[in-house]
Each structure stands twice: as C-alpha cells, then as structure tokens.
C-alpha cells in the first residue's frame, strides 16, 4: 500500500493515457493557458480568417437561396433529395463520435477518453448546427419552418403528421442538439471555475465566473455532479443510437428500392461513428501538434481511435455487402436493377470510389505502423470523411435517378450554390471550432487530473469503526 499506484497502465503494456511528468499544476497550466492567454497566435488567426471566409460564403449562398428559392439547387424530379439530405446525414453522423466518446466510453470506464471528450463533444455540437441548416433551408422559407416542424398551436389549426419519420427526425435531432449542449456545458462547469480563479483580467474573471455558476468544488456538489454526469451519459447512449436510427428511417420506412432495407439502422449508426472518429482524428492530429498537447493527447488516443475506425469501418463494409445481397435475394426486379444501376450505371464511379475507401483502404488500419503514423492517419481520416460523404451520395442519388419507368429517369448535377452551401458549412464548422479552441479549455482539466496519483485515495482503513 505504501508505494503510489503507477500512472495509468493497463495490464497490456500500452502507452500510458497521459505521459509521465504531469501533476495537478502542470495539467491546469497547460490546458488553461490557451483560453487565458492575451495573444492570438498567428497560425490561429490565419486559419480563422480562412474559416470565416467559408462561413461568409455560406451566408451568401443561403441569402441568395432565401431571396430566390430552392430552384437554385440542382435537385429536381426524379432526384428530389440531394445535397440537402446528403450533407445533413453526413454532418449528423460526424457528431456521433463526440457522444460516443463522452457517453458510451464513460459508461465503459475507458479512461483514455478523458483527454479527447471535450473537443469531440464540441465537434458534435457544431456538426449538429451545420446539419440543421440543410433541412431548415430546404423548406425554402425557414422563418415558417417552426410550424412545419414543431407541434405548436398555430392559427391554421395544423399539426405535424406523427406517422411520418420526418417528424420523428425533428424530435430526435432537436433532442440530440439540446442534450449534447447540456452535457457539454455540465462537463465544462468545474473547468470554467478554474479559468475564473486563474484569470488575470477582471472581465474574463467575471465572464468565466458567471458561466461557472459560482462552482466551488464542495464535496456535496461533486457528489451530485458525478451522479448527474453518469445519468447524462446513460441517457445520451440510447439517444445517440436512436438519432442515426431515426435518420435512417427517413429512408428505410419509404418504399424506394435501395432505401427500403432493414439493415439501415445499424449500418447508419456504425457509419456515423466511423465518420465521426475520422473527423476527431482530422481535428486532434493538427491540434495536439499546434498547441503542444502531445503529453495529454498521446499516441494511445490516436491508436485507439484508429482501432474504433477500423471496427466500425468493417461493419459499414458488411452493410454494403448486405445491401447487395438483399437486392439479389429479394428477387425483385426493381431492387436488382437498382443495385445493377448503382454498380454499373452513370454514377458507378461514386460507388466504386466508396468501396475502395470504406472497404479496401480501411484495411490498412490492421497494421500498427499505420495506426501510429499521424501523417498517414491524418490523410486517411480526410479520405474516410470523403468516403462517408460518397456513401450518402450513393444511397440517395443512385436510388432515385432511375425511377420505376424509364421515361422518368434523370441525372442529378449539383449547382455552384450546392457546393457553396456545402463548403460554407465546413467554413462555419471550422469557425466555431477555432473559437472553441481559443476561449474554452479544449481538454477537460478536472477529468485529466483524476488520472494522476495526487487524486488517488487509499481504501478506507477505518471501515471497521
């Protein structure tokens, strides 16, 4: 009992969760100096301006859309749904990794999640914001969207159609957005108190103090806090699984060949986590280098995320196999034609690109050398995000473009407004993310401290008394 417990190593001799040499003070200092610093690093300003340019482009594209109408987008019969839903599903999927890290891995007591949960959750929130833009603006008149989307007593006496998966989606996504924000904020409270206590300037101390609700770390409060966090994790877990399930219902509940498949819910959820982890890697790899956080976000984190990507990627590849098998085994000529069109039709390039990324390239992650090479992983994570975007493109466009009757076949070509809106949301996402990096502790300070020997307490030797 006399010797202090070694800094977290599991039975398998893996890289430690955080590198040795840290104590409470260095952890607090390393993480809190970023939001409390007075200067804005040049690199940050450069990235921020580029991101802001993207966000400006989004504003322009949406402004023109509202003034003109959704005719500026390329979707039209028979491809009535295109970039708007592709990007919606893509962004929502990306968000899932944040909730998985903060909720599911918390329930499984995976301590390595602590260094990455904060910014993965931030990523979730910003991804949901970007996702919401698409369906809201696809309504054409977003200021009226409230009565199309939400059940509230309006002057026309109209109510949403509760038998439709589209209204389920409204409930699922708005609950997801709210709970993600709440969970994230609750996690931030003790760290905001740390910033309040360390802030040198009075305005910063007041702002962080108000945001921290006057948190003082009392034992009774910590107890309630831990209970609340555990409950929120327990609630977020079924929530996150339900969100992409409900998103997949938008397709699976319809009767369109290529959409009407029971494999959709699990396959969508796995795909969401897969793309989400790719996005976490795309963000974590540059951020840890730029801010010198390599001792807190270690190779252990990077490698574990690569492993989760491999596992979920394999489930997604299995989903592709199932889709093809279902189409053949159904013996329905429409299903079989849809699959044949997907593989050999005018959009075959997108299908085969998708297969080569999500089923073939991902196999590289079996090798430790690849999983621990941050440059290769960074490039791969970007490609995986492209692959998952293609997946939604394939599911949506190739299922619609050749309708039941050849006279109603048609091609879909996105317009420049489609692209501007899509790239604009990436700009908005990066803008929000860079603001987050600058003003909020990007790693959970108090959670990382719980991993240190200083936080440990010996078993109660007075238990008998």
């Amino acid at each position: 009992m006399a010797a202090p417990a070694p800094v977290h190593r599991t039975a398998l001799a893996e890289t430690p969760v955080i590198l040795p040499g840290h104590d409470f003070e260095t952890v607090t200092e390393t993480i809190s100096e970023v939001p409390l610093s007075r200067r804005f690093p040049l690199g940050w300003i450069g990235f921020f301006l580029v991101a802001l340019l993207g966000a400006g482009m989004l504003q322009m594209a949406l402004g023109y859309l509202v003034l003109t109408g959704i005719g500026i987008w390329g979707n039209n019969v028979p491809v009535g749904w295109a970039f708007d839903i592709i990007n919606f599903v893509w962004w929502i999927g990306i968000g899932h990794a944040g909730t998985l890290i903060s909720a599911i891995l918390l329930l499984f007591k995976q301590q390595w999640r602590m260094s990455i949960s904060r910014f993965a959750e931030a990523m979730t929130i910003f991804a949901v914001v970007c996702a919401a833009i698409f369906p809201i603006f696809h309504t054409g008149r977003p200021w009226l969207a409230a009565y199309w989307l939400f059940p509230y007593p309006n002057a026309m006496g109209l109510w949403p159609q509760f038998k439709s998966p589209l209204i389920w989606d409204v409930f699922a996504v708005s609950t997801y957005a709210t709970v993600s924000v709440v969970f994230w904020y609750v996690g931030l409270i003790p760290d905001l108190a740390t910033l309040r206590d360390r802030a040198v300037s009075r305005p910063k101390a007041i702002i962080y103090g108000m945001l921290s609700l006057g948190w003082r770390g009392a034992a009774r409060h910590w107890h309630r806090y831990e209970v609340a966090t555990l409950i929120l994790a327990g609630l977020s877990t079924p929530l996150v699984l339900s969100v992409h399930t409900v998103v997949s219902f938008d397709f699976a509940v319809s009767l369109i060949p290529g959409w009407h498949a029971t494999i959709f819910p699990p396959y969508f959820v796995a795909g969401a986590i897969y793309s989400g982890f790719a996005m976490v890697l795309s963000l974590a790899i540059p951020v840890r280098r730029f801010y010198g956080m390599e001792s807190l976000i270690t190779m252990r984190h990077i490698e574990n995320m690569a492993k989760i990507m491999l596992a979920t990627g394999l489930i997604v590849a299995y989903g592709y196999l199932c889709e093809a098998f279902f189409a053949w085994y159904s013996a329905s000529p429409h299903e079989r034609f849809m699959m044949w069109n997907r593989m050999t039709g005018p959009y075959a390039w997108s299908y085969w690109m998708l297969i080569s990324i999500n089923a073939v390239m991902i196999q590289l992650l079996w090798f430790k050398g690849i999983r621990t090479n941050t440059t290769i992983l960074f490039v791969m994570s970007i490609i995986v995000n492209l692959g998952m975007w293609l997946e939604r493109f394939v599911i949506i466009v190739t299922s619609l473009n050749r309708d039941f009757v050849p006279s109603s076949w048609g091609m879909y070509y996105p317009t420049k407004w489609d692209f501007m809106t899509f790239f604009g949301t990436i700009g908005l996402f990066l803008t929000l993310f860079l603001l987050f990096l600058r003003f909020v502790p990007m790693i959970s300070i108090f959670e990382v401290k719980t991993l240190l020997p200083q936080a440990k307490v010996k078993a109660d030797h007075h238990a008998a008394n």
């Binding site: 509760f162 038998k163 709970v179 003790p190 108190a193 206590d197 360390r198 006057g214 108090f446």
Partner: protein, 183 residues
Amino acid sequence: MPQTDASNHPLHGVMAEYDSSQALVDAARKTVAEGFSKVEAYSPVPIEEVNDILHRKRTMLPKLVLAGGLTGMATGFALQYWASVIEYPMNVGGRPMASWTSFIVPSYELTILFASLTAAIGMALLSGLPMPYHPVFNVERFSMASSDKFFLVIERGDPNFDRQRVTEFLRSTGAKGVYDCAE
C-alpha cells in the same frame, strides 16, 4: 487574512488547506471522529470518499430524473394522441388514428430530453447554483481549490464550534495552512 476578534467579524468558519486527496480524506475522517458535523470539503477533483465521510447522504437526483423521464414520455404520447386523434384527425392509408407504434419515437426522444434536463438543472438547483458569491471565496488561497489544493471548512454553525479550538484541531490534522473564513 488577519482576524483578531471573532465576535466583531462574523465568521463563516475556519478553513484548512491540504496538498492531496489523501490528506483531505484523512483530515475529514479525523474531523468527523472529533465530533464535528457542520463540515464541508472543497477539492479540484471529485473525491467520492469525502462525501461519504462528511455527509453520508446520497443525492435524490436519480429519483427526480426518473420522474422527469416519465413526465417526458407521458407528454410525448399525450401530445401525439391529442394532435392525431382529437384535434387534427387525418386518415393516412387507412391506418388507425391512434397508431401508437408510430408514436414511440417522439415519446422516446421526449423521455430522454426531459430526463436530461432534469438531471442537469436538478444538479445545479439542488446544489444551490448559480451562486456567484460564497464566503469561502473570501480566503485568498481558496482560488487554488480549482487547481491543485484541497480545503476543509468547519463551519460556525457547528455545535462544537470554538474558533480557538477548531484552529488548533485543524493544525493537528496536517494542514498546510489554517485561515479564518469571513462571512
């Protein structure tokens, strides 16, 4: 914080500072063994043992969350039933008005929504937060409670409270510093 005459300057309590979770837990045990009951500990990380030693009470939050979740479920179902059956009945493909199976998803989501909001808001309100001011903030060293120091306060409301005695007792628990905490 010089504090000479306790009767002229009302005290919130006497505060002791420690270096580690272990030191705080040991001190908390001694404090309870000594017979003090109005005691609170402050730490930069959650320490489950301290709450068990000082307060012995588990929070009622889980029960509130259950109630919140059930309210959400009932609200979701009632809303959909009322809108689809009573207020705005519409025949879709000959299905019954009250197709309860299709009401499951929104009811499920509202269950989670209400339960989560109860958990977060309940946690704050049961703890009396938001509360920007608290006497413990009067001690300058207390700003370290959110980085790497641990504090224990024996409050004036304790039946055994006597400034002199409490200060000496806290010194004997291995405290790195003992401070008067003004009201």
